[in-house]
C-alpha cells in the first residue's frame, strides 16, 4: 500500500452512505459543504478554534476543519441537518429558539452539535459542564448567556413544544 494523493472514500452522513473520490488534501468540512451540499456546517476560522464546523463523527464531536475527508473513510458523520430529520425540531433546537440563544445563527449549527454531544453523554450537566462542553465553540453575538440557559433547559426537559 503506497501513498496516494486522492482516493475513493465511503462515508455515512446523517444515515445516508456516500461514495466519492476526494483529494487527500481536502478537509472534511469542504467535503461536507461543497461536495455533499450540506451547507448547515459552517466555517468561522482557519485554525480550528471557532467550532462552527463541529460535527459528530462516530459518536464524538470533532471540528470538521481539523480532519481530512480521507480520514473519515468508513466513518459515520452527523451534521446539524440530522437534528430535525423527520421535520420535528430537536429539543435543543426548540430550546435555542425559546431562549434566544442565537442571533446571526452562524455559530448555531456547531453549537448545537457540541450541545448534543454533551447531552448524549451527560443527561444532567452542571452549568460549568455546559460551559466546558461549548468551550470550543465561539459565538460573537450572544455572550453565551442564553446558550447556556438553552442547553440547561433542554437537559432538564423544560422545552416548549
Amino acid at each position: 500500500m503506497e501513498p496516494v494523493t486522492s482516493k475513493t472514500i465511503t462515508v455515512t452522513v446523517n444515515g445516508a452512505s456516500y461514495e466519492r473520490e476526494v483529494d487527500a488534501r481536502r478537509l472534511l468540512v469542504h467535503f461536507i459543504r461543497d461536495e455533499l451540499d450540506l451547507t448547515g456546517t459552517h466555517i468561522g476560522c482557519d485554525t480550528g478554534n471557532c467550532g462552527a464546523c463541529t460535527v459528530i463523527v462516530d459518536g464524538l464531536a470533532v471540528k470538521s476543519c481539523m480532519l481530512l475527508a480521507v480520514q473519515a473513510d468508513g466513518a459515520s458523520v452527523e451534521t446539524v441537518e440530522s437534528l430535525a430529520a423527520g421535520g420535528e425540531l430537536h429539543p435543543l433546537q426548540r430550546s435555542f429558539s425559546a431562549h434566544h440563544a442565537l442571533q446571526c445563527g452562524y455559530c448555531t449549527p456547531g453549537m448545537l452539535m457540541s450541545a448534543k454531544h454533551l447531552l448524549d453523554n451527560n443527561s444532567e450537566p452542571t452549568e460549568n459542564e455546559i460551559r466546558r462542553a461549548i468551550q470550543g465553540n465561539i459565538c460573537r453575538c450572544t455572550g453565551y448567556v442564553n446558550i447556556v440557559e438553552a442547553i440547561d433547559a433542554a437537559a432538564r426537559g423544560e422545552v416548549p413544544a
Partner: protein, 821 residues
C-alpha cells in the same frame, strides 16, 4: 443570570409590540437552513484567491502571473494595472490632502499594509486557486513603514500616499463653550499626558465574501454577499466601475454577524466584479479568518494627548481639552467620518460645557479601519470615563458621587450638548443605582477585606455610555463642506397580495438583529393580525426596490429608521384597505371600517366583513368596475422614512448629529492576583435604557453581546504589529475572543425612557458604547489602589499589562498632574 425590572416600568403598549414573541428567523437557522453567501453556488463558477503583500510598505516592481495562468484548471487572473485601467479610484470624503488619496480594488504601484491584495487568481477549485496564487511572482522594493498615527504626521515620516504628500487624512479643531474661561473658574486642573485606546475588532464569526455573476446581455452584476450597508456600498462601487447604480444588484439573506466590519467590502467586491466580467463566469470569494484579521478592517485606534480637565473643588467638572490622534490604517475607506462621529457624544453622559478638541487622523501601514460596534463614539466615551475616574482618583473623590454630580439629569432631558446634539431622554443616575444594586455595592468594603484575606485585590468600576442612533449624515459636512450628504433614510414596502398574504420587504441587511420578527410585531398590531400572518422577506435585494441611499444595518438605527418605515408603509396599507372595503361593503367611508382578525369590518355592522384575501384578490385580479377614486389603491405601499434633521452649522461645527440616545450603564467587580496580574471579573451588571422595547428578549440579547465584545476587548483582544508592520494576532489562537468559560456571570437590568423623537418611543441600540472596556479599566484602577495608586491609561489590559502596573505604578502616574491643590 438575573434581571431586575425597575419599580415602575412604563406599561408596554398593547398588542404584540412589547412582548418577546418567538423569532421568525430561528426555524431556518437552528436547522442549518439559513442561506449565507458561501452557501450559494452557480454552474461553472470559479474560486478566487488573492495574492497578498508580505510587506507593510513596498513599491511593486513587477508582477508576473504567467506561471499561475499556465496551471490547468486556472481560469484567469487580475492585477492592479488592469484595475487602474478599468476603474476609477473610490471617491474620498476628506478635504485635501486626504482626498488626494487614490484607493483601488487592488494595490497599484505600491503596497501599504501587509496582507493588501496585489493580484487575484481564479480557478476550478479553492485549493487550486491557492496553488496558482503561490506561482504569481511579485517583485517588491521594500520601504520603511510607519505604524503609529502620532509618528505618521511628524516631519520626515515615511509617506504612504505620495499623491497626497502627507499622511494626514483630516485634521481640525473643535471649540465649544469657553475652555479658557473654564480654566479660570476651576479650583483644580487635572492633566493627563496620554491615554490610548487600542486597535481591535468585533471579528464576526462569518468572514466576508461574495459570489458575483455578470450578465453580459444587461451588463449587470449580481452580488450574493454579506455587505451590511448596500446603499452606500453601491455608491462607492458604481462610480468606480463607471456604471450606474442600477448595474449593481446586491443580494443578502443571512449574514453571520457584521458589527460594522462588513461595511467597507467595496474594494474586494469591485475586484470580483472585474473578474466576473473578464472571465465571463461567476466568481466566488471566501475570506478566511487570517485574511480578515490581517486585511479586512479594524476598529479605530486613538491616542489622546495633553488632556486638561478643569474641576471645581466639589468635583464638578467644567469640560476638557485634548489632542486626539486617530489611526485610519492604510486607506480611509469609511474615514474620515470617525473624525466627527465621536462628536455625537462629545461630553459623554456629563454636563461638561467647555470643550476644546484638536483632532487629527492619519494613515499608517496597518490594516484599514472601518466602523466597529460603537464606532468612534466608544473611543470618546472611554476617554470621558477615564477622565472621570482619573480625576476622582487624583482628587480623592468617590467615582459614584462624581458621576452623579456630573451626569446630565433626567429632568434636563431633552438636553442640548455643547455642540448642539440633543440627548432625547434618559436617567443615567437611576441606571447607575440599579447597576450598583445588582453588584451589591453596599457590601463592597466587606468584600474587599474578604478578598484581601485570600491575597486578592478587589475593585469596582463603572462604565457609563450612550448609544447614539440614527445618524444625520450632514455631520460629514463638518469635515468637508463640499460633501453632498445629509439626513438619513430607510425604506419598507408592505403589500397585501392576491391570497391575502401580507408581505413586507425591508431595505435593511440584518446580521442577527431579528428584523423579520420585530417588523412582524409592528405590522401585526397595526393591521389587526398576528405576526404569523406577516411574511417579512429575509435579507436584502436591491431588485425589490425597497432600499434608499442610506439603507443597511449599522449605527443603531433599525428601531427608529427601520420601524418608522415599516409603520409608515403599514399605515398607508391600512388606509387603502379601509378605503377599498368601504366601497365594497357600502360603508359611509374609510372611517367606518375597522381592521381586525384579518378582515375589514364595518364599524356599525361587524358581520359585514371583507377578508384580506378578498381585498387582495379584488385589487390584483378582479378589479373591473372599481370606482375611479380607488385608482391610487394598489395595496402595495412603499414608505421612505426621513428623520427630521437639519444640515449642521459648518462654521460652529454645531447641530444635532443623531436622533436618539440609548443608555447603558455597567458595573464591574474584579479580583486581581497581585502576584501575577491575573484578574477575574467576579460580578458584573449591565443596565440598559433604549426607550420603548418592542421585543425585550432581543434587546437583552444585544446587551449580552455588546458586553461580551467589550470584555473581550478589555482583556484579550488586540491587533498589535511588530516593527516591520506584521500583525501579531492573525488568528483566534493569538486573538483570543471570549469563550464560554471566559464570560463572567452577567446580571442585567433595564429602564424604559421612551424617546420623544420616535413615534414608537424606541431608540436604536445594540452597540453598547464599549461600556465593559470602561468598567474594567476603572475596576482595575480601583483594585490596584493599595499598590501605589497606578493609573490605567490604556483600554487594553491583559494580565502582563496589569502586572507591569503593579511592578511600576510610578511609571503610570508620571503622566498625571493636578494643579491648584
Amino acid at each position: 443570570m438575573t434581571t431586575v425590572a425597575p419599580d415602575q416600568v412604563e406599561a408596554p403598549q398593547k398588542g404584540f409590540a412589547g412582548t418577546s414573541i418567538p423569532r421568525k428567523e430561528d426555524k431556518r437557522l437552528v436547522q442549518g437552513e439559513g442561506v449565507f453567501f458561501d452557501d450559494v453556488k452557480r454552474h461553472g463558477m470559479g474560486y478566487v484567491h488573492f495574492v497578498r503583500s508580505p510587506y507593510a510598505h513596498a513599491g511593486i516592481v513587477s508582477i508576473d502571473v504567467s506561471a499561475a495562468e499556465a496551471v490547468e484548471g486556472v481560469y484567469g487572473t487580475l492585477i492592479g494595472e488592469e484595475v487602474a485601467a478599468q476603474t476609477d479610484p473610490f471617491f474620498e470624503m476628506s478635504t485635501p490632502p486626504g482626498n488626494e488619496i487614490r484607493d483601488y480594488a487592488l494595490a497599484v504601484g505600491k503596497v501599504r499594509f501587509a496582507g493588501e491584495p496585489v493580484a487575484a487568481v481564479v480557478a476550478e477549485t479553492r485549493e487550486l486557486a491557492r496553488d496558482a496564487a503561490e506561482l504569481v511572482e511579485v517583485e517588491y522594493e521594500p520601504l520603511e513603514p510607519v505604524l503609529d498615527a502620532v509618528a505618521a504626521v511628524e516631519p520626515g515620516a515615511p509617506i504612504l500616499h505620495e499623491e497626497a504628500g502627507s499622511n494626514v487624512v483630516w485634521s481640525g479643531t473643535f471649540e465649544w463653550g469657553d475652555f479658557d474661561e473654564a480654566l479660570a473658574e476651576a479650583d483644580h486642573v487635572v492633566k493627563i499626558d496620554r491615554l490610548y485606546f487600542h486597535r481591535f475588532s468585533s471579528t464576526p464569526l462569518e468572514c466576508a465574501g461574495a459570489l458575483v455573476e455578470y450578465d453580459r446581455g444587461t451588463a449587470q452584476w449580481t452580488l450574493h454577499c454579506n455587505h451590511q450597508m448596500p446603499g452606500i456600498g453601491i455608491v462607492w462601487m458604481a462610480p468606480a466601475l463607471r456604471v450606474g447604480t442600477d448595474k449593481l444588484r446586491i443580494v443578502t439573506q443571512d449574514i453571520g454577524g457584521g458589527f460594522g466590519n462588513k461595511i467597507t467590502l467595496h474594494p474586494y467586491f469591485v475586484a470580483l466584479c472585474l473578474l466576473a466580467r473578464k472571465l465571463n463566469r461567476p466568481v466566488q470569494w471566501t475570506e478566511w479568518r487570517t485574511d480578515q484579521h490581517t486585511a479586512n478592517t479594524h476598529g479605530n485606534e486613538r491616542t489622546f494627548l495633553d488632556v486638561e480637565v478643569p474641576v471645581r473643588s466639589d468635583g464638578t467638572m467644567l469640560g476638557f481639552k485634548v489632542k486626539a490622534f486617530d489611526d485610519a490604517g492604510a486607506f480611509p475607506r469609511y474615514e474620515p467620518l470617525g473624525c466627527i462621529i465621536w462628536a455625537q457624544v462629545t461630553p459623554g453622559c456629563y454636563r461638561w460645557r467647555h470643550v476644546r478638541v484638536d483632532f487629527t487622523q492619519a494613515c499608517t501601514n496597518k490594516s484599514p479601519t472601518a466602523p466597529n460596534r460603537g464606532y468612534s463614539r466608544m473611543q470618546q466615551l472611554w476617554f470621558t470615563e477615564r477622565v472621570i475616574d482619573v480625576v476622582a482618583h487624583e482628587l480623592g473623590l468617590d467615582p459614584v458621587e462624581v458621576r452623579k454630580r456630573n451626569y446630565i439629569k433626567a429632568e434636563e432631558m431633552p438636553y442640548e450638548t455643547p455642540n448642539g446634539c440633543v440627548y432625547d431622554s434618559g436617567d443615567y443616575a437611576r441606571c447607575l443605582d440599579i447597576a450598583l444594586d445588582l453588584v451589591g455595592y453596599d457590601s463592597l468594603e466587606e468584600r474587599r477585606k474578604e478578598a484581601e484575606s485570600r491575597g486578592k485585590l478587589l475593585g469596582l468600576g463603572i462604565g457609563s455610555t450612550l448609544d447614539s442612533g440614527t445618524n444625520n449624515f450632514g455631520q460629514s459636512q463638518l469635515l468637508n463642506p463640499e460633501l453632498q450628504f445629509s439626513g438619513n433614510n430607510e425604506v419598507a414596502t408592505v403589500r397585501l397580495d392576491i391570497f391575502g398574504e401580507i408581505v413586507v420587504t425591508l431595505g435593511t441587511t440584518p446580521q442577527g438583529q431579528s428584523h423579520e420578527t420585530v417588523t412582524s410585531q409592528v405590522v401585526a398590531d397595526i393591521l389587526g393580525v398576528t405576526p404569523d400572518d406577516v411574511h417579512v422577506r429575509a435579507g436584502h435585494d436591491s431588485y425589490w426596490n425597497s432600499h434608499a441611499g442610506f439603507s443597511g444595518t449599522y449605527a443603531s438605527q433599525f428601531a427608529v429608521t427601520g420601524l418608522e418605515a415599516v409603520k409608515g408603509a403599514t399605515l398607508e396599507l391600512h388606509s387603502q384597505i379601509r378605503r377599498l372595503a368601504a366601497v365594497i361593503l357600502g360603508a359611509d367611508g374609510p372611517d367606518d371600517i375597522v381592521l381586525e382578525e384579518g378582515m375589514a369590518k364595518r364599524r356599525d355592522m361587524p358581520e359585514a366583513a371583507l377578508p384580506f384575501m378578498a381585498c387582495g384578490a379584488i385589487i390584483n385580479v378582479n378589479n373591473a368596475g372599481l370606482p375611479p377614486d380607488l385608482d391610487d389603491v394598489t395595496l402595495n405601499c412603499r414608505y421612505v422614512y426621513r428623520p427630521p434633521f437639519q444640515v449642521p452649522d459648518h462654521e460652529r461645527k454645531f447641530g444635532n448629529l443623531t436622533l436618539t440616545y440609548a443608555t447603558q450603564i455597567h458595573a464591574c467587580v474584579v479580583e486581581v492576583d497581585r502576584e501575577t496580574g491575573v484578574y477575574e471579573i467576579v460580578d458584573y451588571a449591565a443596565v440598559d435604557d433604549c426607550g420603548t422595547r418592542i421585543h425585550p428578549q432581543i434587546v437583552e440579547g444585544q446587551v449580552h453581546g455588546a458586553t461580551a465584545h467589550a470584555l473581550g476587548a478589555a482583556t484579550f483582544e488586540t491587533f498589535p504589529y511588530d516593527e516591520d508592520g506584521m500583525l501579531l494576532t492573525s488568528n483566534f489562537y493569538d486573538y483570543h475572543v471570549p469563550h464560554a468559560l471566559d464570560m463572567p456571570p452577567l446580571k442585567t437590568g433595564f429602564i424604559e425612557s421612551p424617546s420623544p423623537f420616535s413615534s414608537l418611543g424606541t431608540k436604536g441600540m445594540g452597540e453598547g458604547g464599549g461600556a465593559g472596556i470602561h468598567a474594567v479599566c476603572a475596576a482595575l484602577q480601583d483594585a490596584l489602589r493599595p499598590l501605589g495608586n497606578p493609573i490605567v491609561t490604556e483600554s487594553h489590559n491583559p494580565y502582563h499589562r496589569v502586572w507591569e502596573l503593579i511592578q511600576d505604578p510610578a511609571a503610570s502616574r508620571a503622566g498625571v498632574e493636578v494643579s491648584g491643590t
